[in-house]
């Protein structure tokens, strides 16, 4: 859970104080979680047959965007932004689907590892360019989004390829209880295994520091360039996971980037990460993605005209973020 922690406070001695402090620090995420629960209850109300199978479907469909949102959250916390996440997802997805097609399960493991390394490399290229050229992040990554999308098309002009069976099965079904979708577990394991150690290490602290005040971080001895690079590398790695999740859930690789980049920005904001950097965590954005998806599902249930649904989603996005800010402001005042 502490992945979402806005601040790295040490635990207080009194446990009650610790809980209160935790709640205060993660108020946004907790509020969003509450909203999600209300939304789930509403969904059950309008569609009584909504059950474990639907929850599994929900988990599978949010997986790519959730990973993309985590990728975006990391770089945004570090004071940057990455507009090439969708293209990196397309690139890693076509590479994995092309390499795995018709190969053995074992080779599939090699491919997955190789694609994760590719993600690290893409992130390193983005980060190095941002650091070395001193051109604003938004411009570099916008330009690189063309580059990675072009590379994806060079690997494979049309959707196709294949995925190892174990990879496809990884995100299907449930684990333990039928209410715990395997895709959700996979998501939490990936995020936990990578972000928690980073967060607790010097690099994580430094990422928050450069996002909060780059000059102060520099003066405090933080290697600013190297830390920005690290943030982009972590983002590249999560983008590769997101690309692999596309391959896993569709069984093919698609070279044209989906709508993930900007949706990830939206989810990150919805998840309480400040676009100014230095504040927020990765749990909030994940909850944000689930909320966005569930809203879409509900509109399908309610047979809302698809075009109206697009309009409504935009309005809801503003509404939620606005209510969230108001609540935070009130809280700050009270």
């Amino acid at each position: 859970m502490s992945a979402a922690a806005g601040a790295v406070e040490g635990a207080r001695t009194r446990p009650a104080g610790a809980v209160a402090a935790f709640a205060r620090r993660n108020a946004w995420t907790l509020g969003l979680l509450a909203f999600l629960v209300v939304l789930l209850l509403f969904t059950k109300l309008i569609q009584p047959r909504y059950g474990p199978v639907q929850v599994q479907g929900l988990a599978i469909s949010v997986l790519p965007l959730a990973l993309a949102a985590v990728a975006q959250a990391v770089v945004v916390i570090g004071g940057g932004i990455d507009l090439s996440i969708g293209s990196m997802m397309a690139f890693t997805s076509v590479v994995s689907a092309t390499a795995m097609q018709g190969q053995s399960a074992e080779f599939g493991v090699v491919v997955v590892l190789g694609v994760l390394l590719l993600g690290v490399a893409l992130g390193a290229v983005n980060g190095s360019l941002v650091v070395l050229t001193r051109v604003p992040d938004i411009v570099v990554t916008l330009a690189m989004s063309f580059v990675w999308a072009g590379c994806a098309l060079l690997v494979r002009a049309a959707p196709g390829g294949g995925a190892a069976e174990w990879l496809k099965d990884l995100v299907l079904g449930s684990i333990g209880s039928e209410w715990i979708p395997q895709a959700a577990v996979v998501l939490l394991v990936i995020v936990g295994a990578i972000w928690l150690p980073v967060r607790r290490s010097r690099v994580g602290l430094s990422i928050y520091a450069i996002g909060s005040n780059r000059l102060a971080a520099f003066r405090s001895g933080v290697p600013v360039g190297r830390t920005r690079l690290s943030a982009y590398v972590v983002t590249g790695l999560f983008s590769a996971f997101a690309g692999l999740s596309l391959t896993a859930s569709t069984g093919i690789g698609t070279p044209v980037p989906g709508p993930y980049t900007l949706m990830a920005v939206a989810a990150v904001v919805l998840g309480g990460v400040s676009l100014a950097g230095g504040r927020g965590g990765v749990l909030g954005p994940i909850v944000g993605v689930v909320v966005l998806q569930l809203i879409r599902t509900d509109m399908t249930f309610l047979d809302v005209n698809t075009n109206l649904a697009v309009v409504a989603q935009g309005i809801i996005l503003i509404g939620v973020v606005m209510v969230g800010s108001l609540v935070q402001m009130r809280r700050a005042r009270a």
């Binding site: 569609q47 047959r49 909504y50 199978v53 639907q54 479907g57 929900l58 599978i60 469909s61 098309l153 002009a157 049309a158 959707p159 196709g160 299907l172 859930s249 569709t250 069984g251 093919i252 698609t254 070279p255 044209v256 989906g258 879409r296 599902t297 399908t300 249930f301 047979d303 005209n305 698809t306």
Partner: protein
Amino acid sequence: SSGGSAAPSGKSFTIGYSNGGGVGNGFREEQVCTAKAQALASGQVSTLTTIHRNTDAAGQLSDIRDLIAKGVDAIVFNPNDPAALNPALEEANKAGIKTVSVDAYVTDPTTYNLYNNQIKYAELGAKWLFDQLGGSGTVYYMRGLAGHPADSDRDIGFKNVLKDYPNIKVVPTADGVFTGWDPATATQLINDFIASGQYDQINGIWSSGMGQQVVDGIKAANKPFVPIVDADLYGFVAQLLDPTGYPGLKGAAVTNTAAVGGAGVALALKLLNGEKVETDPSASQPNTVLLNPVLADNVTDAGKATLKSWQVPGLDPGWPLGLTIQGWTTYTPEQAIACKGPGDK
């Protein structure tokens, strides 16, 4: 224009090819590859300049103007809109450049149109599907790209047949939903449709080229299949012919050859060589060549045999199977798959 390669007829042309959308879409990619293959196989083309990107009508206008500025002899293009490109097409005509619209028509009177008869395409599939359901039931109507002429024609065909089946109900609305011919959108749509429980209430699916994603989505959700009709894409036909992987899947494929690209190049060469072109007077536009579709299903043995005969090993799942068109294209299927034009290494 000067040409390096020796052409049998002694002529060497430069041709421009514009595709204003569908990058990463199997149908459009194959279309470009057949154009390249035909240009190579004809021996009469020195360069085929391809502009293949996702853009809007204004963007394609500028691409066509770039090709005019380059001084090509003919422009073959898949139009983003029937009327929007006309100003550039007039400019081409004034510059003595032959123009051929493939896969859909344009209203410019000097341009030749060559496309699959999409009204008939939709009629064949809809009739098969409604008959499968015994003339009554609910059908999920998944369309392609809103506003694309091929999609509009298919809608006409679908509704023509629907008139004769009063007991068929169409969901989610009479105008269906649009996948935009984008696999990701199609996957999203079917997942939402299943998650909302609406899938459990339908009896069939009429799909416009995204059948593979739909079938995969149903399989992933562990739902029983309903009869589905789609285009002759490799991936979808492979699913129809794989009863172990997709138990209970009943479906039919309607041909919608992407070799219109190659045929378009062949048509352009005919025009450049001053040959006569047979046109179809029944079409809505003058100067139009219509290609007629056929249907095969996996319900009858004859149908299965036909489907098997279409198979081309090694093709991408998103590619249509009809790689060549009798009487128009002169390349081999291998050349189409190789996707090399004149001068390509």
